[in-house]
Amino acid sequence: MFAAATLGIMVCMGLALGRALLGPTVYDRILAVNSFGAKTVLMIAVMGFLSGRPDFLDIALIYALINFISTIAVLKFIRYGDMGWPRGSDHIPPERRQ
């Protein structure tokens, strides 16, 4: 049962990876990678049960956290071209100074 579930989740991950490779815009790719990460969390949980050691759930929890944070961070990087400065600050990146 768990093996079949793992296989199904892996098919889902393959489809998401296809969108990440095809995606015309960068937002399609970020969306696909975010979806891929959510499916990875589920696959880690199911594989923990498959191998009879549900201790992997801690890893799944941390993976879900990192997935969310990295999505927001990549979005911010694409929006501002900079990780360190929020919107509304007076900072102008060096390459954009006139």
């Binding site: 989740i9 098919v11 489809l15 815009t25 969306l31 979806s35 929890l61 879900a64 929006r79």
Partner: protein, 116 residues
């Protein structure tokens, strides 16, 4: 008998979750435009993950494992819509944003024939 019932329920929940996640992934691959792709990816993750983790919770019984599964479930339920919203806002704020292929209804404009 009870164990068989729990196992059957958990298998059904797992199968339902996997089917919903497959539908969502297929939508992510096949939808014509970024904003429509956002919909299957953002929506089906909540129900699919909920069903799969509920099936695992039935297998685990009342232990610490169930608490951890519940934590993962809550985390996914909160972060998946927030990430989708952030993606949609970022795409809309982009000056060269992906143009919506589908036009809103209830306007006078004719919808252009869509070809993907």
């Amino acid at each position: 008998m009870s164990e068989l019932l729990i196992s059957a329920c958990s298998g059904l929940l797992l199968a339902g979750g996997i089917v919903i996640m497959l539908i969502g992934s297929l939508g992510l691959l096949r939808m014509p435009d970024f904003y429509t792709r956002l919909h299957p990816a953002g929506m089906t993750d909540t129900l699919g993950a909920g069903l799969v983790l509920l099936g695992l919770m039935l297998q685990a019984g009342p232990t610490l494992v169930t608490v951890k599964l519940l934590l993962i479930l809550l985390l996914l339920w909160f972060t998946s819509p927030v990430a989708s919203h952030a993606l949609a806002r970022a795409a809309l704020a982009d000056p060269e944003n992906p143009k919506p292929l589908l036009q809103p209804d209830l306007t006078d404009k004719e919808t252009p024939p869509s070809s993907s």
